[in-house]
Symmetry: D3
């Protein structure tokens, strides 16, 4: 993490005069950070750079993506207690928030893997403002796919584009504006639009808000259309931990969740 | 929200060249933002400043703290579709995240109010890095107490301070360093320490990780000690939606949750 | 001090191409910083972090709050003369400005201590924009009380609030909006309002622009009102080094100065 | 002032949740800012940009450099009381601090003008970190000369440069490194060095820590040396309001003060 | 352009006290910006946002990508002459630099179009630090392809990756780490590696430093391999305006230049 | 270079998740940076601070201003390959861009030196936004004069000032507003204005858009006017590598180019 970001986050938690951190004698001492519950870890490199910034020796016992148990020691620390108290809450907030994301992601990935060896689980841009980068890395730590990072990464043609100018015109316009290094994804709500998107050169077709049964049929029709061999198919909309398994054997390449 | 922050958040979501926002003709048009589920609203002023920054006319139909129903229109918008698409995800991420916090807070506040008319529900510093300010305002929107914003707001004497130098020395040291405008809170795990803290002039006593039954006894002893008339008593540690009601009639002034 | 701030301050003084710093041969050498007059020191940790940022070994001979004499060596330095010249003016500007504040504060504190062992001297928010944090720490180094850091630290009900909605309504409104961790201070100009504030639960009562004689009477009335045992009383408005002693034995807890 | 700076300064004063600003009903209203004592004004454009940023209509009745009387109205304001309360302290801190500088400068300029119609009064780089730009403009408002803004503006050869490598080598080195658009100033402590500096092409000669009598002789010798017709002579070091008049008729072009 | 960026760029050009901008009477007046030579325009929206920031009414007569003639008026301006002088150099530096890039790009695109209707001309990450975003938009204005914006946009497997772990392992590793929304490009120097990359699922194959003759053969072999129907082929390395036409009819999809 | 700037530049090139840098095993290894063509070097200290920021040991074999040959090793590197890949493009973009400027400058300086031993070659404010500081240092590395850094460095009276209020009034106004540490330069287009500027105390006279022959006459007239002994004369406008030698023996002190 960049120093400018570390300082911004620390300033938020410390304020101007963190008296309570200075109540104890400032003699070098040891501390540990341990897991309060079973989880999949994420945020280790962020925590490490916060400790390094504050001059604390921190020895990480696990890396991002490790499944750990309640009570496991995550970091051995040695340094000034003032610095350790200053780092404590910020580090715990990152580790807690990101490991939570990694843990849920892993659980979803495992559910899908029971049904399909090729279907990926992806997250979306529904992230907490300011720390998307870190939340995406937590999804990756959990075994998920980070999807697009931002609006400029790849081109997404949404339902309102389609409604306004139609699938063909939308893809043509996107192809003209996009770089050859970018994929073009089209969000469709019907088989017709899905086939149209495939014929017009979409790289990814997102089946939006379709019931699992409809998805199975659409995937089958798309796969039969010779044109769409290399096209990835994504299911999205209203999918959560509870209904995830219903989508896991629809044959899509990717299932994305909020 | 400050312009510098709006620009930082927008940059995260837009990237360098948000082609998909520019696929539609840029003619002034109308749009709405509506609730996808019942909730307590938070984030209205943030959303309004993002819309204003992008030159979109936005008419908020509710204010922070309103209980709204699925389908309710939150904002009427009018402006350039490019700008509306640029604002969309950032605004929804804020509204969604913060209204989620406000909704849970309101639910907890209602649970407590069934048992006590004076006990407050407060949040802690367990917030998402970078947007604490907004999360605290969401707690307030939900009817909760924002607790300290950061380590410099008020003085918190924690268990490790107490272990190292004792309650009396810790309070004496804090009083010397603190401003007269700051309250001093002491985290205790026993009745003895609670009474000691009261005698030495603590403004707030936090009963940490105590069972509801133990809390009732401790509160009663503290209230009987004439010294502690003005002292606020807080229960903290391991309290969640499920066990909240057990703490609601212990007589504490504040129950704080993560 | 955060690196981002050090760099901002250095850039202000160095500009784009500080030729004069590079006129001398860049061979490691020694230097000292010494006091040009008797003073109470402040700014040592700021100076230390500027030296550290520039790779200069700096050995501080005193800490903040020390009373030192003209000619005393404050820092022994060793490093590149280019770096020492780059640090010089910024460090001296901080040490000079902050030690000036600490010295005046100490003088005021000593004046008050001649008359009262409990009355504190506090500063206000009349600080130089951009370095309040450091000026407040200089007040603390001088033995003063830092008062609120900013408008969000504690609640101050000012005369215009009182004029518009009355003491009772203002305190009620503040209590509803404030966290339980914050103190509520009320600025009053009459005994009636002071008593009203006490009865309504103010934590601090500020007697604004009252003559010392009036203050004595008001403090006495407040102390007699059993309700206000725990309330702190502050005198403020038009108090300076010359008339400070007149306020020192009025019995107030705090005297605040600009 | 840039928006980024306004936001940084406001954040310092407002903190995260400025409850007290929101205690009053937010109905558009009028307010004024008036002078608490006689002064020379500075900071009007800064105040104006802060008001503009917060959406307050502000009508300035005077401009920087105006001599105003206690009680004079400086700004007529109209707008939201919340915004006016948010702007208040920051604006007053700037106006107070900068007008103080302008007032002292004007006083010094007037003292010198009694003795000389050509001698300028200049300030130095002894400024408050972070707001040098504004303090320099206040000196200009008071009728003073802003001297160099930073180390890159013009070249200053200091006593330690001279001690290490001699006047000639130092000027030669500076000429090689400097742009033709920059003046070269040499700090000297003796007539010999002053003449040497003049012969080697210095644009400005600063007589450092010389008594007024010595300055008179040195200026006379320099003026007689035909080479130094275009050279400006500056007196510096230990000059303050009390001894300023002693330097005012020494014939120097500039007197600089801390 | 974001306000934070505009302020950073303006500060660089204005410094602390731009006296010369204030030498003229500040009465609203008209001005124009015109082309000093024939060019393809780029930077119009940047210029417009700088003018808007400074309160200048600016009417753009052309848009990015327009071919204009020496003497053509690009902007009609109306506003304060001080503001116009403050904007002038920054706007001209952007317009000049970016239109230069657009003009060269257009020239290259035209050269290629004489030979091929499908081959694109793309730029690389060899940009000026700090303004890549704007330089890429200038390439697009000239009719070129922006290629990747940064290292996270799409995956590029470079020659040193291939040398260290081989084409197959490198692609397998990339596929595991990449999102399904990202394309994978492999840089190869031989037909063998090109075919290997195609078989292993590369989306783009970059033929690095190959002579035009070799490229023709390689493209032909790749096109015949049924696996590589959807694969884009890029030629790169040592291609400039002089030898561009030699590459234009090699059948590649993209020619990239520094 | 400041850490804040390094981080801003790196972020531009790395994006959020630079997968390709992490494809290789992260074992400490060696690398070199070498020259792809003959050039005059610039940017060494920038490159060094980027390497240092990323923890790479970098040994520079040359310093800014060195003439080096194609194939010469500029840096020996040792460190993590991930870090070296992260630094690579940014360092090369700086070295390439700045060495290009230094090389052209050196060529121009050499052309002028064939004709005159006193005439300097200077650059202008026509720089790339955001990195002027570095481009100016590259001009210095090439042996050129950096001219003013920004509008506040020295005072430039331009043709439009002269047209509006005349040479005398413009200089008088400038002298009143400028510090004594600043030079005043006047841009003139005729001998009359040049003499007028000299008589009124200009420090530098810029002959704008004059043909070499006219310049010779103007310089001669100026030099004969006894008043202008210390005045520097600059030729500017439409001078490039091709016609530079025509201006090199006109007797001007400075030739400035875009």
């Amino acid at each position: 993490m960049f120093i400018g970001d570390i300082e911004r986050f620390l300033k938020e938690d410390l304020g101007y005069n963190d008296i309570s951190c200075h109540l104890v004698p400032d003699e070098e001492s040891d501390a540990i950070i341990f897991a309060k519950e079973d989880c999949v870890l994420a945020g280790i490199s962020i925590a490490s750079s916060i400790f390094a910034y504050l001059g604390i020796n921190a020895n990480a016992k696990f890396e991002d993506g490790s499944s750990i148990k309640k009570g496991n020691v995550i970091f051995d620390l040695n340094g000034s207690p003032v610095s350790i108290l200053q780092a404590e809450r910020l580090v715990l907030n990152f580790l807690g928030h990101l490991s939570g994301i990694a843990t849920v992601t892993r659980k979803c990935v495992n559910l899908v893997e029971k049904h399909s060896s090729v279907t990926r689980v992806a997250c979306t841009r529904k992230t907490t403002p300011g720390i998307r980068e870190h939340e995406k890395m937590a999804v990756i730590a959990g075994g998920g796919d980070s999807h697009r990072f931002n609006l400029s990464d790849s081109i997404m043609i949404k339902d309102n584009h389609v409604k306004m100018i139609g699938v063909e015109a939308a893809i043509a316009s996107a192809k003209k504006k996009a770089s050859f290094t970018q994929k073009i994804e089209v969000e469709v709500e019907s088989l017709e639009d899905a086939l149209l998107a495939a014929e017009n050169g979409a790289d990814i077709i997102m089946l939006d808000n379709m019931a699992p049964g409809t998805i199975i049929g659409t995937v089958s029709s798309l796969r039969n259309a010779s044109i769409s061999e290399h096209i990835l198919i994504e299911a999205s909309g209203g999918i959560n931990e509870n209904n995830l398994e219903d989508y896991a054997n629809t044959g899509v390449d990717v299932i994305s969740m909020g």
